[in-house]
Symmetry: C2
Subunit: 175 residues, 2 copies
């Protein structure tokens, strides 16, 4: 499957079968996440890998409201770990670059998941404070994304995109 096919196969999947992930699958997902482009190669991220349906169910509803979340085989809690970026770039490092780095890591992880026939979802609308408490995440890290992964329970249709002309402005020659 080439990248064009892969990006069109990826969906935001919200509901999974009971199949667990293999250790190899988990390793591939983490290898993909950490291969993402990132500022200065500081790798300003930390991944909490949450396994076991009981532990995962504890996210609902305090950290995240959706009942479907309980069906996840595994949840990656993606955190910024931006001490070095902050020391070098100040708030631009902690509040922009580290968020971009972790988002690229999530994007890579989701694409790898799709390539493995797995489903995933980029969940940003969750309670950071409760998440931090539940997992004992220290001050220096900030949880910015939950990424549940599993075997998709159903097919999810592709979401439409705006016409390119609405989101692009051409500048310079031939414009």
């Amino acid at each position: 499957m080439n990248f064009y096919e892969l990006m069109n196969k990826r969906r935001s999947v919200r509901g999974f079968t009971e199949r667990e992930l293999t250790d190899d699958e988990i390793s591939m997902l983490l290898e993909a996440a950490t291969a993402a482009p990132n500022a200065c190669n500081y790798q300003s991220w930390h991944f909490y890998v949450v396994r076991g349906r009981e532990k995962i169910s504890g996210f609902v509803p305090t950290i995240y409201r959706g009942e479907w979340f309980r069906s996840s085989a595994i949840v990656f809690v993606v955190c910024t770990d931006a001490e070095k970026l902050g020391a070098r770039f100040g708030e631009r490092g902690t509040d922009l670059f580290a968020i971009q780095d972790t988002a690229c890591a999530v994007d890579h992880l989701m694409l790898m998941a799709a390539g493995l026939g797995l489903g995933s979802c980029f969940v940003g609308a969750f309670d950071e404070v409760e998440c931090r408490r539940y997992l004992g995440i220290p001050e220096g890290r900030r949880p910015v994304a939950l990424v549940p992964v599993g075997e998709p329970a159903t097919d999810t249709p592709k979401r439409p995109r705006k016409p390119i002309g609405e989101v692009v402005t051409f500048v310079g020659e031939d414009s």
Copy 2:
């Protein structure tokens, strides 16, 4: 090329040949960028596509310092366009979700570039104010990334990553 091969082929490329991009390549890069996962499918992004070496040279050194930038065949200036996200989620929408969305768009664009044999770089350390002025970017959009693309002038070695154990914490069963 499968995704594992693609993600290992991608590099941060800083220096390009004189070859221009074709219209088809530009279309593929934009299609990839806009296929990225994003909050609520609001597609809270806008892409300025800057063509022409003269226009691109105008970025240096005021917007971005690196002389190599002048060699770019094309530059994508990726902006958040977060009015809808802000209305629904407040600052979390504008300062987190929209930044994550645009970072995923850049990640997708860079992976497509690598698949096409092109090089690219995620440039975050640039002057937003000067960039806004140079391109006439309106208030509602925030430039968060410059992505120069072109045919790589030289091979760039793969950067090493930390051992997985340094950036991962396992939680739950089997931990």
